[in-house]
């Protein structure tokens, strides 16, 4: 079975199995994206009116932190729809059926990663569109300030890596004990990433957006890759995946 076929099968399977969960999680994230940033919009417009256009330099990182927030929300949706089937696979032993298909275990892992990336891009695109439209309806002149290429890059990066990190850690937790079912625990890594980024870099600063994005990439990628490398050697083995206790 080709990698693309298997990825398509995994996505289709998630859509069939998690239709309601997927729709509900995207809807909730979209509502949050539409209302939470907009609640701060009035104060931003007020700042621009008070201090003039030069304040824009101080606000330049807002777009990146908006991307981080959207990426974080999207990762919750990705994890919600991916982790549950993966847990159910192990509990119901469906994982053995999946692995009895015409592909190798490595191809299966790569397909999970590809599915995660695809879902991340799709859900991010949905949330960013909702955000851009909401902004446009509220104050069209500020859209370019709040949404730009940095917002998109940061959003997608945060979603992909925090989702992968969460899924990997979920596997580690469930390996330690079957009582861990992802859920709230699976949100911890993406939440941590989000908080690190938010607290180390302040949204209102003179740092250039490029440096902020680079910083986010370094933090997200290094943390995720480190955890995944350890996991790949210690956990990503068929006997770990098929065992559920």
């Amino acid at each position: 079975m080709k990698l693309i076929d298997l990825t398509r099968w995994i996505i289709k399977r998630i859509v069939v199995e998690e239709t309601h969960g997927l729709a509900l999680s995207i809807l909730l994230s979209a509502i949050m994206v539409a209302f939470v940033p907009l609640s701060n919009l009035k104060s931003i417009i007020h700042l621009v009116h008070m201090y003039g256009p030069e304040i824009v330099e101080y606000l330049s990182n807002i777009s990146i932190f908006t991307g981080t927030l959207i990426g974080f929300l999207a990762s919750i949706s990705v994890v919600a729809v991916l982790v549950r089937p993966l847990s159910m696979d192990r509990l119901s032993r469906f994982i053995e059926i999946v692995l009895s298909g015409p592909f190798t275990f490595r191809q299966y892992l790569v397909s999970i990663v590809l599915s995660c990336v695809l879902l991340s891009v799709i859900i991010d695109a949905v949330l960013l569109s909702v955000y851009a439209v909401s902004l446009y309806l509220e104050a069209s002149e500020i859209v370019s300030l709040m949404v730009n290429v940095y917002t998109v890059i940061t959003g997608i990066l945060i979603t992909i890596f925090s989702s992968l990190l969460t899924i990997t850690l979920h596997l580690a937790f469930t390996r330690l004990s079957y009582k861990f079912r992802g859920g709230a625990l699976s949100l911890i890594p993406s939440l941590l990433l989000y908080l690190i980024i938010l607290f180390v870099f302040k949204p209102l600063s003179t740092t250039t957006p490029l440096w902020t994005v680079l910083y986010i990439i370094i933090v997200t990628v290094s943390v995720s890759i480190l955890v995944m490398i350890i996991s790949i050697f210690k956990l990503m083995r068929p006997e770990v995946v098929i065992s559920y206790q």
């Binding site: 053995e96 009895s100 298909g101």
Partner: protein
């Protein structure tokens, strides 16, 4: 040979479970028999290519199942625990499995679903969620699913566990018919599952090694387990006991009937039944406790090791 297993060593977390398994399977029905923890499921998982060996190989149609995973298209699998998605309908489970095995054509998938549903008499279950089905129905669905892509080889891991004898017989009849052109391997820990198909080949596995391969008669002849029967007899208990005392048997009266254990292999249960009948006692049923025979075989194996 459709499946050739050579010098197979497989383990979990550095604990070797299969220790040098050499065996081959051709068209027909085979029972892999062994107690819990003997390595049956590990062998099944290795045949289907889920668990990679530390050493050795599994060749299916001449190709290594680990190097050429495409050969798994010719194989159907029933895992220990059935492996159905509980929140989906039976039909959706079938569709997902067919697509996983590479069938793209929707018309073909639905044709196959109709075909297996007829064979296993599950037409009325197709629209139901798996979570609404009984254990017996789930097993039936799980076995039917393994046939969806018309495979040459079927691997059933403990598919018959926890089912009533009538149901086991019914499933075994269907599988026996299908085995005329397929290789069907069923793992079980119960000798009673083999009873319905005594002419089928048995592979006995113990401590990760194949210790016997042959027919049921040969197995019983080689290990000469003490045999235990449950007899349902109508008549006064005192008369039954008097006749049983004539033979070298141990017996006890239980709620299920008379449990009679033959102490020597040369005693024939039919002689005892005949004697009971000649003395005016009506013997309604004679059933052998196959699990006891299995237990006896394993005990002998352990003592010989």
């Amino acid at each position: 040979m459709r499946i050739v297993i050579s010098d197979l060593h497989v383990g979990y977390f550095n604990n070797i479970v299969l220790r040098g398994v050499n065996i081959s399977f051709d068209v027909g029905m085979y029972f892999v028999l062994g107690p819990n923890g003997s390595g049956k499921s590990t062998l099944m998982r290795s045949i289907i290519g889920i668990l990679r060996p530390v050493k050795g190989d599994v060749l299916v149609h001449g190709y290594s199942v680990f190097i050429y995973p495409d050969v798994k298209r010719y194989m159907g699998y029933f895992p220990h625990g059935i492996g159905l998605l509980p929140d989906l309908t039976v039909r959706d489970n079938f569709i997902l499995y067919a697509e996983l095995m590479g069938i793209r054509d929707r018309v073909e998938i639905h044709r196959r679903i109709r075909y297996v549903s007829e064979i296993f008499k599950i037409e009325n279950l197709l629209g139901k969620k798996v979570s609404e089905l009984s254990h017996g129905q789930r097993v039936r669905v799980g076995i039917a699913r393994a046939f969806i892509h018309d495979p040459d080889i079927l691997v059933f891991d403990e598919a018959l566990a926890g089912l009533d004898p009538y149901f086991v017989l019914e499933i075994e009849k269907i599988l026996a018919k299908e085995s005329s052109r397929r290789t069907i391997i069923i793992s079980t820990h119960s000798l009673s599952h083999v009873q319905a198909c005594p002419h089928r080949e048995i592979v006995l596995i113990s401590n990760g090694r194949i210790v016997f391969r042959g027919k049921l008669d040969e197995l019983l002849l080689r290990f000469r387990p003490r045999r235990r029967f449950i007899l349902k007899i109508e008549g006064p208990d005192i008369d039954v006991a008097r006749i049983l005392d004539r033979y070298s048997v141990r017996y006890v009266r239980s709620e299920d009937g008379w449990i009679v254990e033959l102490s020597r292999s040369d005693i024939n249960i039919l002689d005892i039944v005949r004697d009971l009948a000649n003395n005016g006692l009506l013997v309604r049923e004679v059933n052998e406790d196959q699990d006891y025979a299995m237990y006896e075989i394993l005990k002998k194996l352990e003592s010989s090791e």
